[in-house]
Symmetry: C2
Subunit: 310 residues, 2 copies
């Protein structure tokens, strides 16, 4: 295993590193911000990369927000960006369904377990769906449901996909519907498989946990459309027509971000120490993935700006 190269403070190495790539795929939480706190110097660093002709793409597993909602967050936090630079797992799922899966109508409807972000992205790709935030599914199961779900009379015969994402309104009724659709042959997809969702400096149930009952009941694992799944890399590559050899994945988690880049055979991976991973994690014998480079914080890349200024 090659030892990752430490770049912080070494302007020559940083310049050489930046020159190697045309595209930087950036994770958000733990890299750009923590919750609603933007790390110091990050907006300037992003501008610096752009000024050197680099494309930056924000690749996030959070499925609860659409790209438009993410753009609002970026703008609100003072980070200049464009909706076309944002690639979330909800969007990844939508384009996988519409452009790769391409189920023939009418049996191409999606039963959604998740929030509005997924719905927005499905709509943007003109994918028909039910479930999601529909109040008809945000309630207790009734005797009529037990009967109608079991005999199929309450099921939509056009559902061909079950898509499970983070759903703050998960309930027995939705799980029961999803199980029946899967038993009837629906394709099983997940926006991502993160077990937990970081919030308020703690951990809450993540999208991956919301889908585990369905996997346990059916004995089948979903195809995940978020990091580290290469289905997401394929979608990113298809959209941005990037040269993988000249692309670098930047992130704070070995098991999602760095693994995503390594398995995608990108030209490079850069770990930052402002999130989950610590140096000891990739030095461990059973490290899930090892980055090619690392810095203390993303803004360390911007420190080279002064050094190369004419």
């Amino acid at each position: 295993m090659t030892k990752p190269k430490y770049l912080t403070g070494d302007n020559a190495a940083i310049n050489e590193f930046i020159d190697r790539f045309d595209v930087f795929l950036l994770d958000c939480d733990g890299v750009i911000w923590s919750g609603d706190h933007v790390f110091e110097g990050v907006p300037e660093t992003l501008e610096y990369l752009r000024s050197r002709g680099k494309k930056v793409v924000f690749v996030t597993n959070n499925s609860t927000k659409s790209r438009e909602e993410y753009l609002k967050k970026f703008t609100g936090l003072g980070i200049p960006s464009d909706v076309e630079e944002i690639f979330g797992s909800a969007y990844s799922s939508a384009i996988y369904i519409s452009r790769i899966l391409q189920l023939p109508a009418p049996k191409n409807k999606v039963f959604v377990i998740g929030e509005a972000g997924i719905e927005h992205e499905l709509r943007s790709e003109k994918v028909p769906f039910i479930g999601g935030t529909d109040p008809a599914f945000r309630r207790d199961i009734t005797p009529e449901d037990w009967k109608g779900i079991a005999d199929g009379s309450l099921l939509d015969p056009d559902v061909g996909v079950v898509l499970a994402g983070l759903d703050f309104h998960i309930n027995y009724l939705k799980l029961s519907h999803a199980l029946q659709y899967l038993r009837r042959g629906a394709v099983f997809l997940a926006t991502n498989t993160d077990s937990t969702f970081p919030a308020n400096h703690s951990f809450f149930p993540g999208a991956g946990s919301i889908g585990t009952p369905l996997a346990y009941m059916t004995g089948a694992q979903p195809l995940a459309l978020g990091k580290p799944s290469q289905a997401m890399m394929d979608a990113v590559e298809g959209k941005f027509r990037l040269d993988r050899a000249r692309t670098c994945m930047v992130g704070d988690r070995l098991n999602t971000d760095i693994k995503f880049g390594v398995e995608g055979r990108l030209g490079g991976t850069l770990a930052v120490l402002t999130g989950v991973a610590r140096q000891a994690d990739w030095e461990a014998d059973d490290a899930v993935a090892v980055p090619a480079f690392y810095v203390d914080r993303l803004s360390d890349l911007g420190a080279a700006a002064a050094a190369v200024a004419p």
Copy 2:
């Protein structure tokens, strides 16, 4: 692997079989009844076994009903029985917590994911609990919850156990609370690990599926108090002071009932073909468990009644 002995129609073999045991542990769904339909001849067969001095105990994984509620179901279906003959996974969980786990007060409170059956049994064993059917937990998560769950201000410091059972009102709020208690060291128990719950001639999410998000998030498996967990066998043995060599487990599922009896080193196991298992299942090379005996239906044991009548 010994071939199971087929008893149906062989009165001499049935008599010999019955003579070998003092206690019959019986699964309910698929053995006694299917849903609300009692299989023909079963009440008479149970009476016949009792008339020969046998003790019958109904051992069920359904945690949504207390023993009292089960007794009502038996009575309503015309099956004479006594509350002391009923042993469900909710009761099994309660006596495990009160008599085996015995956490010292005050940190002995249970956070319940489940229905009223679990609460009744915990109360009967004087085990303090929160959660369960409390309306305070049957609602959406709020911004105050995110904050208070993360910083602990909304958590009960006395919770030392998380008990996950079948909960028709599972939601994000309960899963978030349970996750935090487990992260703070609570013991992780499950009434049972059945992935599905049979109802209306179909399948719905089972107790095991309700608990999988917690297992996925924490990386820890719960100790299960239902079949085939031997923690339940220990509880049954402790209560009825039975001689395992003279006890037979009767059931329709190899992976719960028959496995429960085989791993508990009971004197015998009897499979019935009125539920899930078919002969091909135990004849398969990868059979999860093989019964010692089998009959087409439980009432085939009663057919010996006439033959032995004086």
